[in-house]
């Protein structure tokens, strides 16, 4: 089975609760903000599309959670931290004074979990237990194997009915680039990491290609039921669920949808116990109802700020920042730095324009990170002329307190004029000739700052 046939979990799947921030002032963000939403939001969308989900309520305060318990009128309740990360069940809620590193070890299974430590998902049976569980989570940071030791703040919990689980299944959907269409994936191996299943026993995953115009066909629904071992009434319930699931994906321009686990209860009902939904941000312009679900608190602030200026930005762990025009060249520049012994601090693509304002904002975002020890500007000016780019760089340089070395490599139209402008500027800008020279210079400059 080819690599393309694995559905993997994104590093930060959408689950958990959130601050429902109305981004009404800024609903259509361009750029590399991967549109993820929280579990409770995903469940609301599923429900609206006809997919059965457990009854539940979102709570911002322990008292609200307790009241929710009363309204749910059920013997078993599950209190779930709402954060954009997987592994919540084994995750640990910590306060500011707790040992984050130790908690991360526990969440990753490297250390024993001591008694009384608050997990990200807790089963409770009374109103008081519900209140206590919510209190142990709200306002704390949840550390899971996916969040790293810094964890993510829990602002909301989902208080949901606990069901007796007879079977745990998997249902997913994503766009298959080779087939040029979305594919539904179903497996009897639910509740575990599907990537492991794809790797070890790919035959346990049923794949059904979806015609975007026709949606899930009736016989395809039956095929999925059969693959999942559903029979009779349960199969019918399953088929209704699959239809709604596919309809939601297609209607809302999702990019990735996972229900893991999809459960069959003792009574033969089929429910989505957990759901991750990611959306195609190219399509957000036509889904304002999805766009406002964006939880700015869950996103990297620098990445969000960059997106607002039409820049593509991803922060990394290193200390050499780069500003490049073009995604492929930007990724290559990161690779180039690493190849020469440096560590890239980010990916930043100013796109085809490289205007003065974008360069300025790009510099501001790069330098807002205290880790940055040197900056490399790598621009291949095709239509954009190098002397115009150089002039823009100088203006930006002057407006910012450039406290670290700046290496500039320009290539393209009017490159000699551009380089001359930089050299004659009297600013402390290091001009590089060629990619290798640029990388060597910036790596040396960063080391010199340590």
């Amino acid at each position: 089975m080819g690599l393309e046939h694995r559905l993997g979990r994104m590093v930060k799947p959408a689950d958990g609760c959130s601050l429902l921030r109305s981004s009404a002032s800024d609903p259509f963000l361009k750029g590399c903000v991967l549109m993820k939403i929280h579990e409770y939001q995903a469940k609301e969308l599923l429900k609206a599309a006809g997919v059965a989900v457990p009854a539940g309520e979102v709570a911002n305060k322990p008292e609200e959670a307790a009241e929710a318990f009363d309204r749910l009128k059920t013997p078993l309740v599950v209190v779930k931290a709402q954060v954009h990360a997987g592994g919540r069940g084994k995750g640990i809620a910590v306060g500011p004074d707790d040992d984050h590193a130790a908690a991360y070890d526990i969440a990753c299974g490297r250390k024993q979990r001591p008694e009384g430590v608050a997990k990200g998902v807790q089963l409770v049976k009374t109103k008081e237990e519900t209140r206590k569980a919510a209190a142990s989570l709200l306002g704390k940071k949840l550390i899971t194997y996916q969040t790293g030791p810094q964890g993510q703040t829990i602002s909301k919990v989902l208080v949901t009915v606990g069901h007796e689980i007879a079977r745990e299944l998997y249902l997913g959907m994503a766009v298959d680039r080779a087939l040029h269409c979305p594919v539904v994936m179903a497996s009897t191996e639910g509740g575990v990491e599907i990537e492991k299943v794809a790797h070890e026993s790919p035959e346990k995953i049923e794949r059904v290609p979806i015609d975007v115009g026709l949606g899930l066909l009736e016989f395809q629904g039956r095929k999925l039921s059969h693959a999942l071992g559903l029979k009779g009434d349960t199969a019918k319930k399953g088929e209704k669920l699959f239809k709604g699931f596919v309809r939601l994906f297609l209607e809302k321009d999702a990019s990735l949808a996972e229900i893991n686990p999809l459960i069959v209860t003792g009574a033969g009902d089929v429910l989505a116990l957990d759901c991750k939904l990611n959306f195609d941000d190219n399509a957000l312009f036509r889904h304002p109802d999805v766009a406002i679900l964006l939880d700015a608190a869950e996103e990297d602030p620098a990445e969000l700020r960059a997106a607002r200026s039409g820049l593509s930005y991803v922060s990394l762990d290193g200390n050499i920042a780069c500003l490049v025009n073009g995604a492929g060249l930007a990724m290559s520049t990161m690779d180039l730095i690493k190849y020469h012994g440096g560590e890239p601090a980010n990916f930043l693509d100013v796109g085809g324009g490289a205007s003065k304002e974008q360069v300025l904002e790009g510099f501001r975002i790069l330098l807002s990170s205290p880790n940055v020890k040197a900056v490399l500007v790598n621009i291949f000016g095709g239509i954009m002329q190098c002397d115009i780019i150089a002039a823009a760089l100088l203006v930006a340089y002057d407006e910012i307190d450039f406290r670290v070395p700046l290496v500039v490599r320009l290539e393209g139209t009017n490159v000699e004029a551009g380089m001359k402008l930089l050299k004659d500027s009297g600013r402390k800008i290091i001009t590089a000739t060629g990619l290798t020279d640029a990388a060597q210079q910036v790596v040396a400059a960063a080391k010199g700052q340590e």
């Binding site: 994104m10 040029h180 490049v324 073009g326």
Partner: protein, 293 residues
């Protein structure tokens, strides 16, 4: 390669009255491309860059005999523009637009396959196609290219220019450069482009520029390994330092749950006998080495 952009190309631009469409159409004209018209609904009857503007592709084709189009239509309407061009009988569609919803492209591809299977779509989200010295359909700077016998296929824009510039400076000219684009679903993938180059008598070798996300590079490697592509090949894969789960600019550049990693692509390419450049500074040199072996 004459199959795509050549002396017989009669190009229209959909979106010619927009800023980007106008600018790049003029650049193509200056390069020597035969621009014969433009299409912008509502602006039919006017003129731009000395050529007539039409309301529909159909009218444009009937009046000018256009056989190629370059699309600069905004994302919400671009997929529709692709299908309109195909319906009008245009054989080569180069979609420059970035930001088209993925499912729109899924729909468009399905429609083309069902109703216009002979149409070649390149892109979207791509710099275009150029046969150096002959015809340019896209936004790439013409001057960096040199006519020759090496084909270039790339998912990227400026990284392609980097690679082409390195080749040109080594005296290695290009037969055709095809920017297939950075989106998850494109009209022409590596496999299709390699098939074109395999049957092109004017191409002796290919430089392939890939990146993280998907498994297009692995499928390209398979073509070489199974003998469906027989010419020397060199490659570079961008994004070896990209972290999983993040979208690196291009909609298609995501490492999702272990698949789409640069290391896997590089391994597959090398196993198939393709020379892979370790640094982006060595793309040209790696192709040169591939030519020798």
């Amino acid at each position: 390669m004459s199959i795509l952009a050549n002396k017989s190309t009669r190009l229209i631009c959909q979106g010619i009255t927009g800023k980007a469409g106008a600018f790049h159409s003029e650049q193509c004209q200056k390069y020597g491309t035969n621009l014969v018209g433009g299409v912008t609904p509502g602006r039919g009857g006017t003129t731009a860059l000395g050529v007539p503007v039409f309301d529909t592709c159909d009218e444009a084709v009937k009046a000018t005999g256009a056989n190629a189009t370059m699309i600069f239509v905004p994302p919400p309407f671009a997929a529709d523009a692709i299908l309109e061009a195909a319906d009008a009988g245009i054989a080569l569609i180069v979609a420059i637009t970035e930001g088209i919803p993925v499912l729109d492209m899924a729909r468009a591809n399905g429609y083309l396959k069902a109703h216009h299977s002979h149409v070649r779509l390149v892109g979207p989200n791509c710099p275009g196609v150029i046969t150096p010295g002959v015809c340019k359909i896209g936004i790439m700077p013409g001057y960096i290219h040199k006519s020759g016998r090496v084909g270039v296929i790339s998912r990227s824009g400026t990284l392609t220019y980097e690679g082409v510039w390195q080749l040109t400076n080594l005296g290695i000219g290009q037969s055709t450069c095809i920017g297939i684009g950075g989106d998850p679903i494109t009209g022409t993938d590596f496999v299709a482009a390699l098939a074109l180059f395999e049957s092109d008598p004017e191409t002796d070798a290919v430089l392939l520029l890939g990146e993280i996300g998907g498994n297009a590079e692995e499928r390209a490697a398979e073509m070489k390994a199974t003998g469906r592509f027989t010419k020397p090949m060199a490659a570079f894969i961008a994004g070896q330092t990209a972290p999983p789960g993040k979208r690196m600019g291009h909609a298609g550049a995501i490492i999702s749950g272990g698949s789409g990693k640069a290391s896997d692509k590089i391994a597959a390419l090398e196993a198939a006998g393709i020379h892979v450049a370790k640094s982006p500074a060595d793309m040209g040199l790696t192709l040169k080495a591939a030519l020798k072996s």
